[in-house]
Symmetry: C2
């Protein structure tokens, strides 16, 4: 069984236990791990490392770079063991989040397309070990990744040594789905030749010099299933607003009948929006995204999506089983690429994507906070949302208009952290409605966002802020001393709602 | 003389006076004007239009789209006449600025590479007239622009009708400097074939269907000279910090000995930084920028710059005279392209630029405000700074650490408007020092920015803010109720300095 997958004979004597591989890792090292949104993560060696440190009581801390968030509790276990010094570019784990917010772990929240450039140019320092999951290593030395490509190719290329986790639980049917293309150095590279979503431009796997492989660990564990929640009434309404808008854009000739390649961020709201296409008239759709979630496969099954290019497959347990057992239905409709390519500004702009991402909060001028709750507490990270929003044909942000039973308004006077500026946000959609901000000045945007997107509970309060701001004047009127009063009120009183205003109604 | 320049015979009967051309423009129309940072602007027709409206007392307002800011008081005269409804994507005129800040003119502050995509896809509506300055129209119908290309090619292509201002004052020596390349529609276009700064990829001018030319107006007026101020002691020190940093990057192997293509924003600080290269050891430099200012020509004269690609030539009167009279010295070292190309994310990322732009203010976490004074009053606009910063190899922001005799600190707890987020800012330089933020988490960034970049007058005050913020915790610690207190203090007391703190020292 193992030899069917470990087909490069030069590697046969490198098989070791996870514990042995973990013993190679020393204090102060930098690790580049495979893994993107719970898919294809290195599972055994990082956990063995955490266990070793706990067992031996050694002081050891390492920098951990990945594609995006890890599954299999890898981030939680590493964080708990206290072995992570620096972490980038994205995470989504509650234990790690806590340590990031306490200042114990230094987290660098980075555009997901940028990490590869930093690794390549050496500004982040050396990578001591790349630890990447694979379904196979071919006769001629290509690592075939599992359910994600992420940054694995650039980690393998630039690491001093490589550890491969050969995962027997992942089906061989994944072989042939990957398209690995690595641009050369900046200033020396050619244009990326991709002009269509379904175009293959690279190699079937990650080329590896066997001399760099320090060890191969055999594993047997599927990815953690996605924790996506089913669409609810509000997310379904958001999808309806968005689809209605896209319909109008097609009618006006701004978009072709099959729209443009679609991107959707990770999470339940974005997944629900994609689900909305199931009942729509749109067909022959294409996807050029990072994570491919359940809805993408539902749309392929329904004949709505003709092709999907992504960086990872992150599915619920049920969908994962269905997809893996029926890969023959999908293999000519799917490609998995590195995140540098899926999120590359060159390709996003060229293809003219429709980018749909989730906001934590938006403000009346269209700035978006995607990361820091109340301006200070990191949720997950910006992920690829900035790569896409900046360069897309249509940069769309979706959010429910309120949270915490109405105690938080997702539309505020001034977002408490800015991840996407007014210059990068075209459309905002909540269950209340859709604001098309294109071609509007800030004062025009404010009225539209308040009337179309804010929850009725908060509309008067927003109008009052804006009217007071207008008395101060300016291109972007504000009452700076009250700009964050909604956030401080929530912190102190548990609600953004002004009680007197609310009770006088 | 005119016929030597108006070489397309099909256009000979279209010559009209500016007043006649202005009479064609009706209330509610949209105009696409040539002009980028005072260079190559349409001068006669918009001014004739303003004069007509003033003379006749008609109610007329139009949308005015340009490349960037206009010279020759065109923006001032149009604003004064009250004929501008909507203005995009950049301006730099005091009269217009005032009307933008009073809410009379709707200003859309846009990334300079984005306007062309919006015009091409039609989301901004029709352009009724493109009004573009030219030195000539060739026999086979190419408009040869003057000192800028800007958005002229896309305006000419998409406008219903075109008016050409044939400027006899601009030397014919400019012919052959332009390289006009227009990408196709998003989703249908090929890779932009440019892989080197000096590569010609397009045509010598803007192709024009003579049937679309409604009129040709003969003009005879040079561009407004640039208002750049000479480097002072502080900008010279900023340049020294930056050059020292680049030297170290070369030593570490992060950059080749001749660096990478350089971009610099418009303005005195950025020009001064470029001037700093004159005394440096660097040579064989290249420039891939939008505006080419005096310092670029000084560096060419000194044999430091091998090639400069830009979108406009904006010079002081003296340098302009020297350059125009000695174009033979420069013509094989210069290309002028459209702003969609000079600022294109695809090319900025591929070439791996070093991008140097000016900040109005920065905050302790590395967010940058480039546009709105005290968060509300528009200065000029974001310009191309976002196009470059996001996609560059090195995103550098420069600013003096204080302004208004020390009453304003350029380093604040929370910038009052965010144009460039923490994700997009690599390096901050003031006359105090340089902070290299790459690979640092927010808490690490804050300490470095305060110690390296803030003025000594404000360091304690910043340290106190940050220490208090740390007691609140979070990935990006803040004291939200005090985040803008520096700005409100300045508005109320005329200084950001806390008096008690300052006097107790």
């Amino acid at each position: 069984m193992v030899w069917e997958r470990l087909r490069d004979k030069r590697l046969h004597d490198k098989v070791v236990q996870a514990e042995e591989a973990a013993s190679w890792i020393e204090d102060g090292m930098t690790l580049g791990l495979s893994g993107f949104t719970r898919a294809g993560d290195a599972k055994a060696v990082p956990i063995a490392l955490a266990e070793r440190v706990k067992r031996e009581g050694t002081k050891l801390s390492v920098n951990v770079y990945t594609g995006a968030s890890l599954g299999s509790e890898v981030d939680a276990i590493m964080a708990e063991a206290g072995i992570v010094r620096k972490r980038l570019p994205f995470q989504a784990d509650p234990v790690m989040r806590k340590k990031i917010n306490s200042g114990e772990i230094m987290f660098i929240d980075q555009h997901l397309s940028h990490t590869a450039e930093w690794v390549r140019s050496g500004v982040l320092g050396d990578i001591d070990f790349a630890i990447v999951e694979a379904i196979a290593v071919t006769e001629d030395g290509f690592i075939i990744p599992t359910t994600s490509v992420g940054n694995s190719n650039v980690f393998v290329e630039h690491a001093k040594q490589v550890i491969i986790e050969l995962n027997m639980a992942q089906p061989m049917a994944l072989e042939g789905l990957h398209d690995v293309y690595t641009p050369g150095l900046q200033g020396e590279r050619e244009p990326i030749p991709l002009t269509a979503v379904d175009q293959r431009i690279g190699q079937i796997g990650i080329p590896i010099d066997p001399a760099k492989v320090k060890g191969i660990v055999i594993t047997n564990q599927l990815d953690s299933p996605s924790t996506i929640v089913e669409p609810d009434e509000e997310t379904a309404v958001i999808a309806q607003h968005l689809i209605q808008f896209l319909r109008h854009e097609v009618e006006k000739g701004h978009l072709p009948p099959n729209l443009a390649p679609l991107q959707s961020g990770i999470g339940s709201v974005a997944n629900a929006v994609f689900n909305g296409f199931l009942q729509s008239e749109f067909s022959d759709l294409t996807v050029f995204s990072e994570v491919l979630q359940d809805a993408v496969f539902a749309l392929i099954d329904a004949g709505k999506i003709a092709f999907a290019s992504g960086c990872s497959i992150t599915l619920t347990a049920e969908t994962m089983k269905h997809v893996m057992e029926n890969m023959h239905l999908y293999r000519d409709k799917l490609l998995l690429r590195s995140q540098e390519i899926t999120n590359h500004p060159e390709l996003i702009r060229r293809l003219g994507l429709i980018a749909i991402n989730t906001a934590l909060e938006v403000d009346i001028y269209g700035n978006v906070n995607s990361t820091n709750v109340l301006g200070t507490r990191m949720m997950n990270g910006i992920g690829g949302s900035g790569d896409f929003a900046r360069n897309a044909r249509l940069a769309i942000f979706v959010t429910k208009s309120i949270a915490k039973n109405g105690n938080i308004s997702s539309v505020v006077p001034f977002v408490s952290h800015v991840d996407h500026t007014e210059h990068d946000v075209d459309i905002i959609v909540t269950e209340q409605g859709l604001a098309d901000l294109r071609g509007l000045a800030p004062r025009e945007r404010a009225r539209l966002i308040i009337e179309k997107c804010a929850h009725p509970l908060y509309r008067d309060q927003l109008r009052e802020y804006f009217e007071e701001a207008l008395t101060r004047g300016g291109h972007t009127p504000h009452v700076l001393e009250k700009a964050f009063s909604w956030h401080t009120r929530y912190a102190q009183e548990g609600s953004m709602l002004i009680k007197e205003l609310a009770s006088s109604r």
